[in-house]
Symmetry: C2
């Protein structure tokens, strides 16, 4: 089965007829259908799949026993236990299948479909891995349902406690464990045995920017991820009648929010950072009522932790100043903050150099960042995105570039699993 | 049964335990329970209730047949058919029982409970009406479910066609007729026979401002209602990744909205008018996505139609200017616009003068405005609101002022129904 066919099968799942975007929220019907597609494709390739209690899965392509024995024997004979095939651990690739609300087709699924296709390529080349090659699927990478990005990989490496994760609820108040149970899973949150045999992780992903377009190449390798965070801004005022309340008598939190949203944009421009208010809840959200409360979530990213902290502090300060003029109040709470990720530089060079692929930074969080911070040598491959648009129905990568990505991933897996 | 008891019975219905505010949306469980309370109180007073096919109801206190006959005979003998009791029509009072989302206890229900209590007062005084006295309950006065304020009274007077009303849907997409049927009603939209015998309408309402506080009186009479409208502002941009999209590459409609909300506030202040963005919908409303669309509803009010049109045009102009800078677009559609209402000046003077009640304007829309525009002589009584707060859980009127309102309404009904 070609990559084109693999990809075509997945396209209709969770797609909105009106926007053309995807709604593949974790443990919902569409995301579960994507997961079933993954299981089917693994079965078609005789790749046994293991699940952990967090909802993550890995399909393993095991080396022939004879090869492993030979390798192990060879190094063990030299007393080099660390370099024996099993102790060095497997080569994990893969990505995620969930999407943001009304998201694109590529962010996540491209890494999973490419991994399946890369194994087809390696087999057609007659390649026999010395190390096992795994295709991982991590749940809730986007945080679109439970508000915490990379939830599955965080749980898997122990970067969030099971208790803290169990306290997460979706927008309808459904707790994580209930959502998993409703999807037919038997949750058991915590560090994942699936990662025990992982020696290196390589995630292929559509680029979410135009760096590769500017460089005129189809494939690149990631250097690292900017630090970033999500911050909840609670603006509180006083509900009142929109008609009869004089403007000067109001305590309208919408005004405080509006000024803060403009300030966030301005500060991010000035600092060459990123600041976005993309999610909002208004209470009571009635046309003829001055709102009592506006809750807005700030997504902020910068090239260093210091720059990130300064950006958020400046936005908060300007919001608080406006709140005192509006006689409203503002409280800011960090919901999740991720430090910078520097991927394994030697690994990136080893992957990129033979092909001349550029090594570029990214501002987007990924499961690869979580695994890297947990001490697993990690690399990322990016596939060119002509518009740079992502998290949108317009997200796109040309088929030729996707196929270049599959070849690049196959080459990389071959390099890493060969010895 | 005292007014205090009547009022106490209604207090728990549809009240949010967390905010203390009310959620009595039309044809929902809480509003239907309020309606059942009304029917029970009418039955307790032997007031037969008639419904129309719009969901409106009127309970009539009929004059003794002997009185009517005598009156009719008296004037008919003089050839003055217009002044005969029946042809002059009944005296309607009442208000509505629905609330805005998370609204207060008084806006609407105070007028219905006061009407029931005023009939108790008149009966205890031994008063016998010459004209019938009706207590009306109009549905969806707030427009909190179907987006069009005074829906019940508009249908009743023919100010909206049955076809246009049937096209209305709530936020979940439920059509009006389905919502009515789900509440056990048999809808038949259109001009209401309930109003055929109405000669004059008097609505008692909590004040939604602080005019009576400033004047240090408990009761006032309305002079008229400012023109006002609801306008839908659609800001359209392009969804994108909140991390990896450079600020200068974005087409973020949230920024255009934010500037427009601040402009609306500023323009309303400058013009001594009112402009409020209290309701918002963001798509896709995800923390890590630049929004593709922000839809916001403007509630605008001014002392004249010209001032209102200028206010909305200026806000739209400033929004469109900002949209061109943000590379977004803005489209504005008027969802409902109500012209100014001048209540019957002679009627207001007749009611207010004997008591020295002040005659004051209001910026809030009411069913009284709809009936007045339809040619029914109409008046409103306001009860003092110490904070002026309305459409909020904090909406309040002291019991002493509510009781003063009941007495004032009883006096007014006695005046109008006596001959």
């Amino acid at each position: 089965m070609s990559f084109e066919e693999l990809w075509r099968d997945l396209q209709p799942v969770g797609r909105s007829a009106s926007s053309g975007g995807y709604f593949r929220q974790p443990f919902g019907a569409a995301e579960r259908e994507c997961h079933a597609w993954f299981l089917e494709e693994c079965a078609r390739r005789d790749l046994p799949v293991s699940h952990d209690g967090n909802g993550n899965a890995v399909a393993w392509w095991e080396p022939d026993a004879a090869i492993v024995q030979n390798e192990t024997h060879q190094y063990a004979a030299k007393g080099d236990v660390k370099r024996s095939g099993l102790s060095r651990g497997g080569v994990l690739t893969g990505s995620h299948l969930d999407s943001v609300l009304d998201g694109g087709a590529y962010d996540g699924p491209l890494g999973v479909a490419s991994a399946l296709a890369a194994i087809d390529v390696l087999r057609s080349r007659g390649f026999s891995p010395v190390r096992p090659i795994g295709i991982g699927v991590f749940v809730e990478e986007e945080g679109s349902r439970f508000g915490l990005a990379c939830l599955g990989s965080r749980l898997a490496v122990g970067a969030i406690t099971p208790g803290a994760a169990a306290g997460l609820r979706d927008r309808d108040g459904v707790p994580l464990l209930d959502a998993m149970a409703a999807a037919g899973l038997s949750p058991s949150l915590g560090r994942s045995p699936l990662l025990d045999r992982v020696g290196v992780f390589v995630e292929l992903h559509v680029e979410q920017g135009r760096d590769l377009v500017d460089r005129d190449v189809a494939v690149g390798v990631a250097s690292g991820i900017w630090p970033h965070g999500r911050y909840r801004f609670d603006f509180t005022g006083e509900a009142n009648h929109a008609g009869s309340t004089r403007m000067e008598d109001r305590r309208d939190p919408m005004l405080t929010y509006a000024m803060t949203a403009l300030a966030a944009n301005k500060q991010a421009r000035l600092a060459s950072s990123r600041a976005t208010f993309g999610r909002l809840e208004v209470a009571p959200n009635g046309t003829n009522a001055v709102p009592s409360r506006v809750t807005a979530w700030l997504d902020a990213r910068a090239s260093s932790e210091l720059a990130l902290a300064e950006l958020v502090a400046t936005i908060e300060k300007q919001g608080v100043e406006r709140a005192s003029r509006d006689r409203t109040s503002l409280e800011v709470a960090a919901e999740s903050v991720s430090g910078p990720v520097a991927f394994d530089a030697a690994l990136a060079a080893r992957i990129a150099t033979p092909h001349g692929w550029p090594i570029i930074p990214t501002q987007a969080g990924h499961d690869a960042g979580i695994l890297s911070l947990a001490g697993i040598p990690t690399a990322m491959l990016f596939v060119r995105n002509p518009t740079g648009i992502s998290h949108s129905p317009e997200e796109f990568a040309p088929m030729a570039d996707c196929l270049a990505g599959v070849e690049a991933l196959a080459d990389t897996l071959a390099l890493l699993a060969a010895a």
